[in-house]
Amino acid sequence: MMFIVPLLVILPLGAAFCAVAMAEVSFLKRWTGSLATLAVLANLVLAVLLFGTGDLKLFVGGWGPANTLGIEMVCDGLSKLMAVTINLVSLVSFIFAGPYMRRFTKPWLFDAILLIMIGAMNGVVLAGDLFNLFVFLEVAAIASYALVAFGCEAEELEAAFKYLVLGTVGSAFILMGVTVLYSLTGQLNMAKVHMLLPKAGLGSPAVLLAAAALLSGLALKAAMVPFHAWLPDAHPSAPAPVSAMLSGVLIKASGVYAMARIVFNVLGPTPQYAAILMTLGAASMLIGVLLAVGQWDLKRLLAYHSISQMGYVVLVIGAAAQVAARPSPDMALAGLCLFGGLFHLLNHALFKSLLFLSSGSIEHQTGTRELKKMGGLARRMKVTSFCCRVGALSIAGVPPFNGFFSKLIIIVALVLTGHGVLAALAVFVAFVTLISFVKVQRYALEGPPAGLAAQACEAPALMCAAMVILAVLCVATGLAIVPLREHVFGPAADALLSAGRLVSMGGAP
């Protein structure tokens, strides 16, 4: 089973190389999309197979457990959850991208760069040492800058340049944080740093500098509110499958996952870090949704909602950190907070990518993203509008869709940890989310048809298939919450809360 762990990274990267090579041969050029879909499907199967095994750990290149100076890949409960999420959304995006990318001149290049991004994201969630995490984060980020600019129109280039500048600043801060941690402990391995950090003093100025640099860089990658300025330009300007990938997995894998990993498993939860996470989360939640409700561009509205929903996740992860940092921590309560946050992370990946794909389908058929120029699509594009409705109901938190359960758990967890005001804020934000999606339904799906929407017909079959898969999963994850908690989210929350386990996996002390 150990060989699966590097395969998750190698398969997409190898397929990317093959895609570029195939583009040179004229009769193979059309098949890069199929190759990419097969590679990601294999990745998904491998990621699901990983659930049967316990925690896995692999030292690359023969650097053994004796001296942990080499690259280490670690696969614990949280990595398995993230790997399945990433590969699932990637598979659906590739299925959607088949017909969608035909209007671009180089679909093989799109397949190659997206495969690189997927391989790098798998690497981020499987990284066991800080520098490897940084390198894969950078690879995924650079691939995403290129993908946002893929259409090479004026707006896309502007958005991609802004994203690039802000993303590079964030990445450099992350490297600075890693540097300071290395200078304090002499190790890059996450488990070893966690063990050696108390000797440097957990409250010392150097550790606080490292934490500040890391948290600000990662908050920028996760699009938390003071650092969110790149997201509302970058996500709408990208082609629809890329928007689904960016909003659906990149801000989670490189932002929220890395933040949770570093705060819980490397630095150790303290009240200060918890307060920072909760402030970022609450601000993102509120400001994201208030800015979203006034948007008339469909994809921009969805992008602001990404900020808001990620705010939910970071807020409740901060609450878990606060509970875990108490002198006598209530681990069950912290586990409940993390369960809510991680479940919402999975759900958001599913329904946000569903919404972005349906907005891409609408744009493909009607040629517009403006809500005022659409209308009456419920009658003309039945499958797309059905999937859009499922996505909207999920994000608004209507039972029995998955969004309801995860938001309920988050609100209950906030009340139980003593943050009644924040729970009320979460309810308010859910209400405003519902309002903005009622607006989307009213202008895009109901109402009189306007302009090109009057002649729109249904999207190509593969695009519809991708959306239907996600819609079915939205319902299924909501109904399967009990077995999911036992097999998926329980181990994931454990992996974050028991930092000691990561240490004992790290080999000889």
Binding site: L69, F131, V135, E138, V139, I142, Y145, A146, A149, C152, E153, A154, E155, L157, E158, A159, A160, F161, K162, L164, V165, T168, V169, A172, L175, M176, T179, V180, Y182, S183, L188, A229, P232, D233, S237
Partner: protein
Amino acid sequence: MGTAIYILAFAVLLIGLYAVVAKKNVIKIIVGLLVFDYAVNLLLVLVGYRSLGSEGWGKPPILAEGQTPAQLAATAVDPLPQAMVLTSIVIGLGLTALMVAMAIRIYERYGTFDTNQIRKLRG
């Protein structure tokens, strides 16, 4: 040496950050971003430095002829940050290529490098 050189590295970092934040020309923003990136690389190299006190400065981590690994470990600077910096410089190289290519395309579309006029998106 001591803290003065770290303060210098932070000063270079702040200069790069200032250029990214305050300049209005796309090319100057790119240069500022590069300076910022290299300041972090400089910090990384400095972290690995090792002074041998009265015997002088730390030696490069290259095994000389006839030297045993134990002797190398006693006198050389830390090789791990140097490996990290190599990776980081290559990442910076890829980023530079992408940034400059994007800047060229922006010039083709907008006709200017002035960020005040590259504002089609409402932000």
